[in-house]
Symmetry: C2
Subunit: 313 residues, 2 copies
């Protein structure tokens, strides 16, 4: 199987592991790359020094391509970009920020650059900035999210129509059937976050993983829309946010309620009460914590099985 | 092409036209049925007498199967159900209410009953009530919507896993590629609302249709969550709702702001300022007002073309 995405990254399957904060160290990224996908280190929860360590360990753990995800508004972004260049990483996924800031410099170093967007308008801005591909991420995705609330089903065909760039679909995709749906909508590949965040190799706390695999439909919601819309699990912290939002609390008060480091508290330290538990809506479809090898095999098998069931009209 | 849905309704393509309020009279329903799909009369904006007239006109306009959509919480629901039985309609889609109330009586009259749900839990309740199929409708759909905010991409595989009933996907589907995505996720058919609401045969006001075909991504949002979550276009009425919601207005105040008949004002009378303009998120993908014959042909052609582009992994 070969297409724009497998050729761009030199990988076997057009499956990218989302570079989520607190989940994506060298163990997860190398496992995904070793199993035919593209693993990403999640630099948004690392210092430049820690990232350097993860890049080096990832290189020891796989001879396959891997990349780094950088949220451009992260206060350490400049140091992260510098580290990426120094360590010779060949693939960068940028998100949450202006793609014009770093794309040219990265491209000049021979780095493949992909930007994550939540709308066709931002896809065109990324194209103007010179990126090699875009990830279009729908409303169902975990964590930070677009203000337009466009779902993957509605977003992908619109980004497909807007740009000829290689297009990776994200948000709500956890299985082979989901990947096939995304390809049907015109994507060239998929980015899978939630399912890998809940894999054995993810560095999220086991309590976070176990809790997320027991969620039911409706157990995550988009909150903090007056700050930056964020999908999180309904837990006691969420309940306080919702209470404040329902009575019209201003952005300041929400910012104070959020405080510092809540996603670390929830995802990395496993505090299910006080933490901000960022995970995608599709978590309710996932029932167990599995190794990446099993997940990748299942996705590919399910994709092919679901494809075999489709009939012409 | 034959499957559970084409066999259940005796139709050519597994494409159902959503039975939206103010859009779906005999012209639209008969056009969809005459072109190989299943047309539905939208009884939620009709008196029983008006429905009787539409049923009779629909019968004169097509010899193909058609049905009626009934929102069960509608104050005229009982009269509507009575009219359906008296006029010998063979297919009922019920929504917004308890499927136990009428399903048995309808089934006893030999009527095929389908219920619209927004979650697996409600799909199981519908199955218990004895329905013949379910429509699972995602967050991207226009008008009234589930509290769980589950998108079509996340919802369909979960309803598929929960029940063996014939499954119709709805929400965000307007093209053949969207239909193929839904079938990839495990649906047996699709319900298309927005695209038919904006067709030539739809009874919505031309100003509403023209406005909706010019929308961009992010131009519809879910509002009125303290009453009943409803997707509508951002217009001056929406802005007043949002202002009230942002400052924490209670349900009472929102109810008063909403008042009576706002969806009629917007959709049927074409008041783009004061009306509640209910339409799906996928409206931004639709650029023109076309006849149903063209729409159905395009959907089938696009479906087959998109299927032909899929490759095994």
């Amino acid at each position: 199987m070969e297409n724009k995405i497998t050729n761009l990254f030199k990988i076997k399957y057009p499956v990218i592991q989302g570079g989520m904060v607190w989940c994506c160290g060298w163990r997860l990224a190398s496992a995904v790359s070793n199993n035919g996908g593209l693993g990403l280190l999640g630099a948004g929860s690392m210092t430049p020094d820690l990232l350097r360590e993860h890049i080096r360990k990832c290189k020891s753990a796989t001879d396959k391509p891997f990349g780094v995800n950088v949220p451009l508004i992260y206060r350490e972004a400049e140091g992260i970009i510098k580290t990426i260049m120094e360590e010779g990483v060949k693939i960068v996924f940028s998100s949450a920020g202006n793609p014009k800031t770093w794309t040219k410099q990265l491209k000049d170093q021979g780095i493949t650059v992909v930007h994550v967007v939540s709308s066709s308008k931002f896809a065109l801005k990324a194209e103007e900035a010179g990126v090699d591909a875009v990830v279009a991420e729908g409303f169902e995705a975990g964590g930070h999210n677009g203000k337009e609330e466009t779902t993957t089903m509605a977003l992908i065909p619109q980004v497909r129509r807007a740009t000829g760039l290689p297009l990776i679909a994200a948000g709500g995709i956890a299985t082979g059937a989901g990947a096939l749906a995304a390809m049907s909508l015109g994507a060239d590949g998929v980015q899978i976050g939630t399912r890998f965040a809940l894999s054995e190799e993810s560095s999220a706390d086991i309590r976070f993983k176990e809790h997320c695999t027991k969620l039911e439909e409706g157990d995550t919601l988009l909150a903090l829309k007056k700050l930056s819309p964020t999908r999180m699990v309904r837990n006691p912290f969420f309940a306080r946010v919702k209470e404040a939002e329902d009575r019209g609390a201003p952005a300041d008060e929400l910012l104070q309620l959020l405080g510092q480091g809540r996603s670390k508290t929830g995802i990395f330290e496993g505090d299910l009460t006080e933490g901000e538990l960022e995970i995608g809506q599709i978590a309710s479809l996932i029932d167990g914590i599995e190794p990446v090898e099993t997940i990748m095999k299942q996705i590919v098998e399910e994709y092919n099985r679901a494809l075999g069931l489709l009939r012409a009209w």
